[in-house]
Symmetry: D3
Subunit: 277 residues, 6 copies
């Protein structure tokens, strides 16, 4: 991961969790004690965040070594060892919770993504994420989506154009809205338009939209929309997809399904840190 | 909320979501346009984060006003308006996603907490959170737990003592571990000991622990432990409580049930921002 | 400008320039003195940075008012007043240099951009910037390019795809490189390929590149390339364009000319702050 | 360079340029690829920033080595290799633009300074910079001035006293202004007074100014001023010196010539990063 | 010390002391010079901050080695060597002042604490600190108190409950105030109540306070209060203790004496850095 | 005070003291309660930090008003009211400790300075501070020295030249050291040389030093040195001056006496915050 802000993020997470010092550990465990520990999967899933956990421990104490047994994206079974951690006992305990909090969440996202990808695997449809991520964790959560086999939608409001109802209303219609964006946004970007009806799809086509989002459409309507578009634009199904039958949606022929729940409503994967001695 | 770091947190969330500028909005919507919008609940739950959403908008643009229709902790029904937002259209769109991402997550935690609190309401047992929170959001998530009617366990490793198996092993037993902490930690803090067997409970009692955590015990064992303790220490049930029958656990007579899932595996409450014009 | 990081940037510029305090001013000028001052253009150009200068003064002291006489993008003549500044004399002097250093540089970029835009105004070719900007000032400098009538290329390595020779070599050719990007980058992005020969242009076309950069080509070669492409991809001329005859380049029919010198080699516009009393 | 803030500055420049990740490189180039590259001068000049470029690469990836062929302050000829860079291909590409943007700008300033120094080399006059530097880059740009053979004026408003017209007006004249400063500023500092007429020069002398700035004077007037001062104060010529005949100015006998253009209007030195394989 | 913010704190102290560079050293001492130096105690005391000094030098320059001759908490005699420092001369001089400023202050606090601890050593009374610490240095100063043999009171307003007169007045009395806290604060915390009269002590006992602070009481009154409490709560004497006869206070039987002067009014221990060559 | 970093410093002090929230206050005091309070001097001294305290409260809560009864630099008598504070009770309690910790320390420094200034008031000698300040508080502490009637020595290593024994040794003597500095440091700075013997004083004179520090000299030796210098350089007495008879030192005729103890060993002025209701 070429994520320049990673250390800063981890340090602030460590400050949040350690506060002014781990008083229990400092009272009970001599500074010179060393431990061997390991991350243990307590349920099946797709693992994500091993390198990040290593960085957490390394920022706590350079004398900790993390030896991975798996790599990000690997499937893991309940009872499997994910990585060994060896080093000063105090430091391992200092980093434990932050490492777990990150790895469990990211593995939760990777696992949920992998399930969605698998659900539509017989089609050509790809699963993408949204901006409905946890504040502060977007780069990490979007990494977890990729690790789970999904793809990333835009990262933020500046690296992708998505024309929604308010933009359309203010610009005086889909066609002037697309035209305004085409004239001003960097030429390296495509133009995506959100539509809810066939009429809007038709206008988006006329406006020359590169991508047409089919938002909150019924399966039937979506099928008609895909057929109307006929390959003239990329299609993306959207709208509380977490609760829908993804395969049916995929079978309408859409190119992408975007799912907010991959990042906004995730069950953490159950992982714990065990000590050998 | 007297949270000194709130502005810094929100500004960094806004940077993450806005990047170098909202290019779609800047192309489509004139700078002088004004909008009236509102937050709409799309499912039932307990609302949390209204003041935080107001602060988000205020940091984007002082000219935005948020007029709350509810306050944090209120129950909300699907279809209910949570707050009105009035101001420059561009600014409302700039802050929309961060406000929603925060309010949805925190309302998710408040709602899950309220459910847990309600499940044990016929007993005297209180619901508490854990350190299994989202990195960067702990103060906010623990606030959401309180808003949902729950209580907070320690915020971090420095403001509470919790003696776990590694501490016990390193210190040479529960009694020396408690003694070591009692001698060194600030006298304003209680000493909590994690136990898994009745033998450990007995030692914790002898050591004079203020709080005894009953970790991963069966209901039967927990009942025996509570009886053995007999009010000589505060009791806390722990261990994947999210999946258990909370009322049965409460009926064992424990004082507190701590639930990691309140913060590590939360379904966001479905809320959206709608524009009136 | 919806630039969330602006205040932080200005505060750090003020710290850099003020250090531990403006000792000369504090010795000579009573705290209660007030001044009326104005920004005076000392040469012709396009003005940029008035709102930023206002924000500089406002962060120094809320009691300063800046009254703009022009707005960003306006042409200014030598001797023209750009804005009035009224407030505590000490505070005006504290903010003077940072306000000028920013406004002069940004006006320099806006002026250079306007010259380039004007040079090709009889064609449909657009002027775009590059990533050759001043570290720390990219968002501001790219804003100045837009203020001068130019367009923005990608802001950074994450919001645009540009396949260069190293990428091509590593991927095993233009076609596999484009394919690899198409498969993995967010679907909201176009794919741009850098080419130096007609052979490479041909491959880029076959690969389905959305944008083809014609790098360091002679006018003749560029003309052939544009003709070969025949509208099947957007074209962008690149390569030390600051020193070339822009109109001749534009007349080859390219859609965009990217010019690094707009941000890396700019003569600041001569502006000074004068005091009326 | 003992510049404590250097890492923080470079990291923020890298964040600005890399954003959430170099998507093109990540798609095209395998993580394990290694490259050998080098910085190539594409025009003559004085090189500055080699150690800074090394620090850039080192902050991107500790596995990159930069082997300098020249050192800061060396003259470089078009076609000369400045340094070799060896390491992971992805990391070299991640750091390339920031390293170049810094080295090109700083070499531009060093080169311009060397030209000015050379222009007056037959006299005893020294070339100094001003506070007209790029916000955020002052320490680096003033370093480049020294590398080019120039000297530094004060770094900020707190480490040097410069009494200008507004100070004089508010204090009630040059003599009371100098007196006020002498009484209050740290005794380790000299007092400089800006003058535009011989009358003001005379007052500055009477006030006991340590340094007298001759601002915007004609050559003739400057000569008279230097003669009037007669060694009783250090002299500094100032006022759009970038456009003047520096040797003629130097021959008036002034001790220093301060030139804002060394930092506010610099042409970057043309350097590129080439890959051997 | 497991203090996550230590590096950030030291870097900011170095920036404060070095500014834009140590100009004297850079002019006089060649970059390649190396020195051997040592910290010399110039008066008797308890040393504190050796590891912190090492970290200061390490953040200035990894090539500096600090070889401790003593460890934190050791008594030191005038004329004793505390540690050797070996490395580049410039870097040692760059870090000298910050290292000394920290070590001298912390040793001052450790020494004052050790004196207080010694004064009451024939009793069971413990010495604790307060929140009257230097802004920015609390974690370090509380560490110094522990190093001197003292104990820490709460670190901040969130990790300990201390009910004072304003809280009591607003809550409607000691009993409702304790009840309100007991109901809402994390169960890992004890409740402390500040009292000034025996009546208040009596109410605090009835309220079930865990700790009773005897604030500004005469020795006689304190003795009565301790007797009234009779072991039913922990007792803490408070109120300008720095000026009192600590042994007499301790002999009243209080468990803790809190002394603000340990951190708010400390004489730095006299230490200097000497160069061997 | 034109101190750009003040808000950042105060916010970080508030975070340090408030942690995750003032739990006692939040439990006991309703959010809508308002209080009237005042700062009360509990001993005589010179007050410093009123504006800073106001800024502390204003950063906690804009609804707090501080109404000063005195201004920085005023003498205060035990029992005198320094300022009134009116606003929400919770917010006043949140800011109380940080405001006091700052104001007490700074008033301590101002008071100590005023005593030193007074001790030498019959002479022309001025009192100056040193770099022996508290890390993080230098700008504030040096402000307190000015408020107490003292003067500031250099703020850091970059805004003043002070040639000490190590510099002299490395440069090969006082004369080459002064020459090296004169050639390279900004011409706005004076050159100060530390001397311990008459021989060194003689060399410093020959080298043309602007300021000669007389370090750790006996009164007799100092008198001889002052006489030898005979007004050809500014003189500064230094060396544990806190413990010496300042008037005797001043009577040797030195221009400045620098006293580290003004900032490194200060007794805080006793001030408390009292509530009227």
């Amino acid at each position: 991961m070429d994520y320049i802000g990673l250390d800063e993020f981890i340090l602030s997470a460590l400050k949040e969790d350690i506060g002014t010092g781990d008083i229990t550990t400092n009272c009970c465990i001599p500074a010179e004690n060393r431990s061997e520990a390991y991350f243990l999967a307590k349920e099946d899933g797709v693992i994500c965040g091993i390198d990040i956990a290593e960085r957490v421990f390394s920022l706590v104490d350079k004398k900790i070594s993390l030896i991975p047994k798996l790599k990000d994206g690997d499937s893991v079974k309940r009872g499997e060892v994910i990585a060994d951690i060896v080093g000063p006992s105090r430091s391992i305990l200092n980093g434990e919770r932050v490492a777990l909090n990150l790895m469990q969440r990211l593995s939760g996202t990777a696992t949920a993504t992998a399930k969605a990808v698998s659900a539509v695997s017989e089609t050509k449809t790809k699963i993408v994420d949204t901006r409905k991520s946890t504040p502060g964790l977007r780069v990490l959560e979007k990494y977890a989506v990729r690790v789970g086999g999904g793809h990333n939608h835009r990262f933020n409001l500046s690296d992708g154009v998505l024309i929604k109802d308010n933009h359309i209303a203010a610009a005086g219609g889909i066609i002037p809205a697309v035209k305004a964006c085409r004239a001003l946004v960097p030429h390296v970007m495509k133009i995506e338009v959100e539509t809810e009806t066939l009429g809007e799809v038709q206008q988006a086509l006329e406006a020359g939209a590169d991508i047409i989002m089919l938002d909150n459409m019924s399966l039937e309507l979506m099928k008609e929309a895909v057929s109307l578009i006929g390959g003239r634009a990329v299609t993306e199904a959207s709208g509380n997809m977490g609760e829908k039958d993804l395969l049916s949606v995929a079978k309408t022929g859409v190119d992408y399904i975007s799912i907010g729940a991959l990042t906004h409503s995730v069950k953490s994967l159950d992982i714990s840190l065990k000590f050998r001695k």
